[in-house]
């Protein structure tokens, strides 16, 4: 399999390959960062079941990130492995959506972020189910089956918090307000994004996927009386200029690697 994949990537023209690199890196970084954020609830979630759930979600996302980084390492074929891509970068070099830059926050913030991210990620994955790049198409087919449980989980909690007047709904509204400027950053345009569509790697533009995402979440937001996420204020900076909470998280998740870069465990 490894050999076949390397051949496939070598057959891509340089501009498609560069755009594919951007896409894989952004997806992997998204999954990696939300996975690490979720893992911060391990041991301290508000309910035992949620402790298990958040830990399980984190493990799923980190598993997806590892698979995507591995694929990216094969596309690059420059001798750097998945761990090197995941850990050996400075905070400014990460390309996750700014939606994931707000720190763990309280439970309502966690649920608001998860719901926005899971549904946006779902729209992006939908755009890859018929991808011309078969290793990614195969992986996405597998990932989507797992993400279904993530959306179920986030939706259940969003409804639960929104339906309870007082502190639960107030906290949820505050979280949605804080996230609003960055809510749509999963769809921030990628360099060379039009090549992805022309080559059939991605079914349509990020703007098209964002429209699908909005259509998907609108009925629930209307039903719950929640404000719809606004259009990204600075879409060109949707995956850069990371905020302070990410720098703190980066410091955490790279600490072991930085202490001994060549260790194996």
């Amino acid at each position: 399999m490894t050999t076949i994949r390397a051949t496939l990537a070598a057959g891509l023209d340089p501009s498609t390959r560069a755009a594919l690199d951007e896409l894989l890196l952004s997806m992997a970084d998204d999954e990696f960062v939300i996975g690490f954020s979720d893992s911060e609830w391990t041991g301290i979630a508000p309910l035992l079941e949620e402790d298990v759930a958040m830990s399980s979600l984190a493990q799923d996302e980190l598993g997806h990130a590892a698979a995507l980084y591995t694929l990216l390492a094969e596309v690059r074929a420059d001798g750097r492995d998945a761990d090197a891509i995941a850990y050996d970068r400075q905070p400014d070099e990460y390309r996750h959506a700014r939606l994931l830059d707000h720190g763990r926050g309280d439970w309502a913030m966690t649920i608001a972020r998860r719901y926005l991210y899971d549904t946006a990620d779902g729209a992006r994955l939908e755009g890859l189910v018929a991808s011309s790049f078969s290793p990614l198409r195969e992986l996405v087919d597998k990932i989507r089956r797992e993400e279904r449980y993530h959306v179920m989980h986030a939706t259940t909690w969003l409804e639960r918090l929104a339906a309870r007047d007082g502190e639960p709904r107030e906290r949820l509204l505050a979280a949605l307000e804080e996230l609003a400027p960055d809510a749509a950053t999963v769809f921030a345009p990628l360099a060379g994004g039009e090549r992805l569509v022309e080559s059939g790697v991605l079914s349509e533009s990020m703007a098209g996927l964002e429209a699908r995402w909005r259509a998907t979440i609108t009925p629930l937001f209307v039903h719950l009386g929640l404000p719809m996420p606004q259009v990204a204020v600075h879409p060109d900076r949707g995956r850069t200029d990371h905020r302070e909470p990410f720098r703190w998280l980066w410091n955490e998740f790279t600490s072991v690697r930085r202490s001994d870069p060549v260790a194996t465990w």
Binding site: M1, T2, E49, E50, V52, A53, S55, S56, L57, Q59, D60, E61, L62, G63, H64, A66, A67, T70, E74, A82, D83, P135, E138, L139, D141, K142, I143, R145, E146, R148, Y149, M152, H153, T264
Partner: protein, 181 residues
């Protein structure tokens, strides 16, 4: 039979390989094992978390065959992308098949997705007898102890990625159900 392990530790992620090989002094037997013989051997490899079920009944063996160069090639499908047991399974497969006296190459693939309906009927029985509800949509889950349908989901996520938490209102037992994926 003199065996020499080439890799002592499993690699850390999908895409890596576990290779076991004979010492150079022992040439491989002339007649290669058939696919059936390989599958019989693989059926002896247990899932590391639920030893009652084999990896064949779990449906994670995608392909097993002897390649043109004489080595045994096996492709495994992880139940979940981030399954932490896959490296242990890969190592166990390499060890079991090394007894055929040929180099063994075990790889991970997502060529087809593992889905819960790949679990065989025998595998579903093994799960039930071990106290797990076999994969079903949440509304169709039945208690593995008393077969009651009067059950409630406590959490979509359980102690491993592939299981959810349930409670049986009839026999008052908590149990775990495999997720339908």
């Amino acid at each position: 039979m003199a065996l020499e392990r080439v890799h002592l530790c499993p690699p850390l992620r999908p895409g890596g390989d576990v290779v076991t090989a004979l010492a150079r002094t022992a040439p491989p037997p002339a007649v290669p094992p058939s696919v059936d013989e390989l599958m019989v051997a693989l059926a002896e490899v247990a899932d590391p978390e639920i030893p009652a079920i084999s990896i064949v009944d779990l449906g994670i063996v995608h392909r097993a065959a002897v390649a043109a160069d004489g080595r045994i090639e096996v492709e495994l499908l992880p139940t979940f992308v981030g399954c932490p047991a896959i490296d242990a399974i890969r190592l166990a497969v390499g060890e079991r098949l090394a007894t055929f006296g040929r180099p063994v190459h075990v790889s991970i693939t997502f060529e087809v997705p593992w889905t819960s309906d790949r679990i065989t009927p025998a595998g579903r029985n093994c799960l039930r007898e071990s106290g797990f509800a076999p994969p079903a949509e949440p509304q169709d889950v039945r208690c593995p102890f008393c077969d009651s349908a009067n059950v409630a989901m406590d959490g979509a996520f359980g102690p491993t990625l592939c299981r959810s938490l349930f409670y049986c209102r009839t026999c008052r037992q908590p149990f775990e159900s495999f997720k339908a994926i």
